[in-house]
């Protein structure tokens, strides 16, 4: 390898920054609360997302208790059940997963992995978090208003979403939901601008786009997707708010409610569906692409092998991102659309399976002949591949119109989307936390508790969602408070529902062990080595662990290779960090080479 000293160009900041120019917090408040340090903001995002995620988890328990033991919990009324369904869905998709992957992992990892001191606009980044927090609080406020939160389903379809018959439809519930979503989008846009510009402009010397770890590629592409897709939700949220509050008829058709003709007329509910799913389908990949990127890095690091087909992996991420904008109407096959339209969207849906399958093959081939360490991050990464394949295959079923129509609105769909965009990304979140926890705290998470957490979560998720596919096949509908003695549903469905509920409760409690592990290990965990997984990427090459503000001390690192130099023939160690100068690489043949 030949070293060429990088030349300075105008739009790139200096590698060396005088101490006086580094931003330092001046008080406890600016260091830990109104912090502009992306790492602190990441932790704030993470804690808020997990906190609201726990609310979502409890809501899912309540739903499961009703479904598993329908006669036993009289306090769960049909209205409450619908509110639980709605809030659980929205919380998990938007306020937990999106916020955690982009706001949490994005903030922590982007500056560190690309070799930057921080995000390019730290103040805007800080605002992004606080607006997100306000969005979460507005959402939570809807639990306490008259009529409670909206029970319109997470898709918020009009006209029912803003009618009196729907829980929270005529009161503040739906309005607060829409305001919260709008705030979330405004906050995300501020953060998203930071992520994109930092990745494009804030990289250190030698860090070309094709030397970036796939984690960054996943987060980058997901951010671009989100910046382009969230406007659809924003526009529809504004229009529905106006329909609800001012009585406009963007989406509301002429309608009779409880025998009374409402003043609405002529609106198009299907227009809302198009706008919603133009956001909604890319949203799947906004969650999945960061997971794809992170899992690629976990597999490579813990199998001590370079990622198989790096270029193809990048292209697949970009390709999936682009294709995700032309598949949205596969969520609307039963909306009465033109059959040719359905044919088009079924075709694009099947096409998107190609780059996705390519990624699965490459993950598997990365493991092939690797020096696999079954660490906890690795276990979660492998579990992700299996789960994503399972969820993806049922997606092929539902992508076909003729199969989707009878299965639509059944528990089969619930099982599918939970496997593919619930369980699979959450497994990556767990793997990532186990992997980067030593960097964030300087301590290791407890291994025994971690393995317990993994096995209960992984096996438990299958006990929950595999039987749910069967329930869907026999026709058990989704969003129903009770199916009572519906003639075509066998009695065994009730037993299966009870079984699923017990499994869900157990899996839920395993998460308590995980949180306990995090709290205890943060303060009393085993001290971590500087680079415990022997990773090559820049976040592990900082001066101090956990990294301080400014990340890399006085001088930024210079990058000499990609992030996957594992088990390189001829080198003494089985990994070569990205910032090690070629002359400093230890070779087998030359022990004196330092």
């Amino acid at each position: 390898m030949v070293d060429i000293t990088p030349e300075k160009i105008e739009n790139v900041g200096p590698a060396e920054v005088p101490e006086a120019d580094l931003y330092h917090a001046h008080s406890w408040w600016t260091k830990y609360v109104f912090s502009q340090d992306a790492k602190v903001i990441a932790v704030q995002y993470g804690c808020t997302a997990v906190a609201i995620g726990l609310v979502g988890l409890v809501l899912s328990w309540l739903m499961r208790l009703q479904l598993g033991f329908p006669e036993s919990f009289s306090f769960i009324s049909p209205e409450l059940y619908l509110q639980f369904v709605t809030m659980h869905g929205m919380i998990m998709v938007i306020y937990l997963l999106t916020a955690l992957f982009l706001g949490g992992f994005g903030n922590y990892l982007i500056p560190l992995m690309v070799g930057a001191r921080d995000m390019v606009f730290p103040y805007v980044n800080m605002l992004s978090y606080w607006i997100y927090l306000v969005a979460v609080l507005v959402l939570c406020a809807s639990f306490f208003v008259t009529g409670g939160p909206t029970g319109a389903g997470w898709t918020l379809y009009p006209p029912q979403a803003i009618l009196t018959g729907t829980p929270g439809g005529a009161g503040w519930g739906i309005v607060l939901m829409l305001v919260s979503l709008s705030l979330f989008i405004i906050g995300f846009t501020m953060g998203g601008l930071n992520y994109v510009v930092t990745i494009l402009q804030g990289r250190t010397r030698g860090m070309t786009l094709m030397r970036m770890p796939l984690t960054i590629w996943g987060i980058f592409t997901a951010t671009v997707l989100a910046l382009l897709a969230f406007p659809a939700l924003f526009v529809s949220a504004i229009m529905m708010t106006l329909d609800s509050v001012l009585g406009t008829s963007f989406f509301m058709p002429a309608i009779v409610e409880f025998g009374e003709q409402l003043s609405y007329g002529g609106g198009s509910p299907v227009l809302f569906q198009h706008l919603f799913w133009f956001f909604g389908h890319p949203e799947v990949y906004i969650v999945a692409l960061p997971a794809f990127g992170i899992v690629s890095d976990l597999l490579s690091i813990h199998a001590r092998r370079h990622i198989f087909g790096y270029r193809m992996m990048v292209w697949a991420i970009v390709g999936i991102g682009a294709l995700s904008f032309v598949v949205w109407a596969h969520h609307m096959y039963v909306s009465g659309m033109n059959p040719y339209f359905g044919f088009f969207f079924a075709t694009t849906t099947l096409i998107i399976a190609v780059p996705t399958a390519l990624k699965v093959y490459n993950w598997t081939l990365t493991l092939w002949r690797g020096d696999i360490h079954l660490t906890i991050p690795m276990l979660f990464a492998i579990a992700f591949i299996i789960t994503f394949v399972n969820g993806g295959i049922t997606g092929l079923f539902l992508g076909n119109v003729v199969v989707d129509v009878p299965l639509s609105d059944t528990m089969f769909v619930v099982a599918h989307f939970h496997m593919v965009m619930g369980v699979a990304p959450i497994l990556v979140v767990f793997g990532a936390i186990y992997h980067w926890f030593p960097l964030m705290t300087g301590r290791m998470l407890n291994d025994a508790m971690g393995r317990f957490h993994f096995w209960v979560t992984f096996v438990g998720a299958y006990l929950i969602y595999f039987p749910m596919h069967y329930l869907g096949f026999v026709g058990v509908p989704r969003r129903y408070w009770s199916v009572d003695d519906t003639s075509f549903i066998p009695d065994s469905a009730a037993d299966l529902n009870a079984f699923i509920t017990v499994a869900a409760l157990i899996v839920g409690f395993a998460q308590v062990v995980f949180i306990f592990n995090i709290i205890v290990s943060t303060f009393k965990g085993k001290l971590a080595e500087r680079n415990p997984w022997k990773a090559t990427s820049l976040e592990w090459q900082t001066d101090t662990v956990p990294p301080g503000h400014g990340n890399f001390g006085k001088e930024l690192p210079v990058v000499y290779r990609w992030a996957y130099s594992f088990s390189v023939p001829g080198t003494k160690d089985d990994y070569v960090p990205q910032n090690i100068h070629p002359d400093d690489v230890k070779l087998v043949s030359s022990e004196s080479n330092v």
Binding site: M1, V2, I4, T5, P6, E7, K8, I9, E10, N11, V12, V120, F121, T189, G192, L193, V197, L200, Q201, G202, R203, T204, R205, G206, M207, T208, L209, M210, R211, L227, L228, P231, A232, F234, V235, I238, M239, L242, L246, G247, T248, S249, F250, S263, G265, G266, G267, S268, L271, H274, L275, H306, Y310, R311, V314, W315, V559, Y560, R561, W562
Partner: protein, 205 residues
């Protein structure tokens, strides 16, 4: 940025390593603020594009009742155009390092923008006086919603404009002022282009 050629390289090849080691880091020859503004403008563009798509989808339904464009809307268009021209004049003068002219251009541009906002309020009042105010009329609802969205973005621009004016008054370094003026002017031109598209759309529908 040649994105698609950048992602075709093979970072593990020896020849590529030499090229990559010489890479300075950034991908686009733009200051971060300019790039961020372009990305933001792109996002805003998507918001309005989708709104126009929704508009055209909604207008084919039976209850669509077109709204006439009062004269004041044409005047407003001219005012916004004048605002943009003034901003551009400020940019031209910043290139010639004529701070006094830059200040005039900036102030005139901002004043015209404020006049535009006031004019938009007059449009609402005039339509109301003509008896067109009915929330169930989708044409009117779209006109109000899109005008309000556009106005909110202009108000956001005026916030940055205000900061730039303050920078001049506080005697900031000319280079920094000129940079802010350029950003303001770019955003003004974008909002003008956006309003032109919306206005033409209102007129032809």
């Amino acid at each position: 940025m040649e994105f698609f050629s950048d992602i075709r390289v093979k970072p593990w090849l020896e020849a590529q390593v030499e090229i990559d080691n010489a890479h300075s880091g950034g991908s686009i020859a733009l200051p971060k603020e300019k790039l961020a503004l372009r990305v933001f403008v792109g996002v805003v563009g998507v918001v309005f594009s989708l709104s126009v798509v929704a508009y055209s989808d909604r207008m084919i339904l039976a209850d669509w009742n077109p709204v006439p464009e009062p004269l004041i809307m044409w005047i407003n268009l001219a005012v916004l155009l004048a605002s943009s021209v003034a901003m551009q004049w400020a940019v031209v003068n910043s290139h010639r390092d004529k701070m006094a002219n830059v200040e005039v251009g900036l102030l005139v541009g901002g004043a015209f923008a404020l006049a535009f906002l006031a004019g938009q309020l007059l449009v609402v009042r005039q339509l109301d006086a003509l008896g067109y105010f009915a929330p169930t009329n989708p044409a009117l609802a779209f006109l109000y919603m899109l005008s309000a969205l556009h106005a909110i973005h202009l108000i956001g621009g005026l916030y940055v404009w205000g900061r730039t004016v303050l920078r001049i008054w506080r005697g900031y370094e000319a280079r920094k002022v000129y940079f802010s003026v350029e950003l303001c002017a770019f955003y003004w031109h974008f909002l003008l282009a956006l309003w032109l598209v919306l206005f033409v759309w209102f007129v032809i529908t």
